[in-house]
């Protein structure tokens, strides 16, 4: 859906989405990295299970919720990526212990 502009010279950062490595850049938020990658980042809602992707990218809508390093329901659009970060796409309600 999105591509990177060629002038972007930021150093690469590798994160994992459901175990699969994807290439992000330093300074990306988790949501930006997901949308720039080709992975299917659709979560499903806790209410009806409907699919969603980030909507506002500014911390307002909570449609970017993801599990980051084992902690569920984090706003991906507010969290910067870090090398080796483990991201999981959430399906439905937050799981116990996550």
């Amino acid at each position: 859906m999105f591509k990177r502009s060629e002038q972007d010279k930021r150093p690469p950062v590798q994160i994992f989405v459901d175990g699969v490595a994807i290439a992000a850049r330093q300074g990306d938020t988790v949501s930006a990295a997901l949308l720039a990658s080709s992975c299917d980042a659709r979560r499903s809602t806790a209410v009806s299970g409907a699919p969603r992707l980030p909507y506002c990218m500014m911390g307002v809508c909570f449609d970017c919720l993801v599990t980051i390093d084992g902690v569920g329901n984090r706003q991906g659009c507010l969290v910067p990526v870090a090398e080796g970060m483990q991201v999981e796409i959430q399906k439905g309600k937050r799981e116990i212990g996550k």
Binding site: V71, G72, G92, K93, I96, G97, K98
Partner: protein
């Protein structure tokens, strides 16, 4: 505005709604007068337990009344479902009160003993369980839980959906709901009550005052009294999470939607606009000691509600001697007692008199002028 009603119910909270719905169910022509969008409304702020254990110390009649309500709730839920299609998610598979540390366990055990020793109270099988026994039902408890009390009659419900179901049911019963019409004066003449609201006057043969703490000022207009001692309660709620709590607790419950409610403080404060985070902190700290995995959940909201609380903590149901046809009803546990209000109180109002053998103990005459200490079990 129609001005001829069999009954006008003042107050559209859980109490007024249950009674009005019950009267509509009996074919009465009912009007409900209520305030508007922003008002102190315990019916929107409560913890939604249908709760029996520890209720009624000092007044056995209250225990009996509560047990009866708990037993009638299933019928209420199914009638509402049938009428409105709304499932109020009643769950009555027993509830716990958990204790942290030995002192709390000892205190709770003492209370259970006193309840059992009270003469005349219904036996509702409240018992103390050790931590390992609790763990069989609630596997996720933490190491600090020393045990707790359990009562098989306890349960909970989705109280907001119950509220909506009553109001949806109004339509089917032809009940007129008038929001934004607080009652400022009541008089009786020619065998009829006249209620003054900002939008005019409404006339009814009977009235039921169910205006929560405002009953204190409305009741004397018709020769009744309702001495109130409201308290404030704070509640914290989390985001939705997978089901983990198969039974409700006195202070933690998981709603059918998946959110976790953590309650509830009891403060003398009466301002529901500000919150004390330090109090929420005590509540959430205790919650995470009971269930350590809760620590990571996000809190999405907290709020304060003002409890409708008669001075001694027990319900008030009364009828006026000077103004026949005027009734007053107020109590704290409007969720638990909703079934009794819908079936019993409505029936008695419809027939024109409260039955002393059922609700005589709840007359405000018990206050005899002076206030009494609250020891009802909250």
């Amino acid at each position: 505005m129609r001005t001829d009603y069999d009954v006008a119910v003042v107050g559209g909270g859980l109490l007024g709604s249950a009674i009005a719905w019950g009267l509509g169910r009996l074919g009465k022509r009912v009007a409900v007068l209520d305030e508007g969008d922003i008002t102190k409304r315990a019916s929107r702020a409560n913890f939604a337990l249908v709760w029996v254990q520890s209720k009624g110390l000092g007044m056995p009649a209250y225990t009996i009344w509560t047990v009866q309500a708990s037993q009638a709730w299933g019928r209420l839920a199914s009638e509402l479902k049938q009428q409105t299609g709304l499932d109020v998610s009643l769950q009555q598979n027993g509830g716990f009160h958990l204790t942290l540390g030995d002192d709390e366990f000892g205190q709770r055990a003492e209370l259970v003993k006193r309840m059992h020793n009270q003469n005349g109270a219904a036996d509702y099988k409240m018992e103390m369980l050790s931590a390992s026994e609790v763990k069989k039902s609630l596997p996720l408890i933490g190491p600090e839980v020393s045990g707790g009390s359990y009562c098989p009659l306890d349960g909970h419900v989705n109280s907001l959906r119950t509220f909506r179901a009553f109001h949806t049911g109004f339509k089917a019963f032809g009940i007129d709901y008038f929001p934004e019409q607080p009652v400022s004066a009541i008089s009786k003449s020619g065998g009829e009550f006249k209620l003054t609201t900002p939008k005019g006057e409404l006339r009814a043969a009977k009235i039921v005052l169910a205006a929560g703490n405002a009953n204190q000022t409305l009741a004397p207009m018709v020769g009744l009294s309702a001495p109130m001692g409201p308290t404030r309660g704070q509640i914290v709620v989390t985001e939705r999470t997978m089901p983990f709590l198969p039974h409700p607790l006195t202070t933690i419950r998981q709603t059918d939607e998946g959110t976790v409610m953590i309650g509830d403080s009891k403060e003398d404060e009466l301002d529901d606009r500000t919150l004390k985070h330090s109090i929420s902190a005590v509540m959430t700290d205790r919650a995470q000691r009971m269930f350590p995995h809760l620590a990571r959940l996000n809190v999405v909201r907290s709020w304060a509600g003002i409890r409708v609380m008669p001075q001694d903590g027990f319900p008030i149901y009364d009828q006026s001697e000077t103004h026949p046809g005027a009734f007053v009803a107020c109590c704290h546990s409007g969720v638990t007692l909703a079934s009794n209000h819908a079936f019993e109180i409505a029936r008695m109002v419809a027939q024109g008199a409260l039955e002393p053998e059922l609700v005589g103990a709840f007359s405000a005459s018990r206050f005899g002028g002076a206030g009494t200490a609250n020891n009802s079990g909250y």
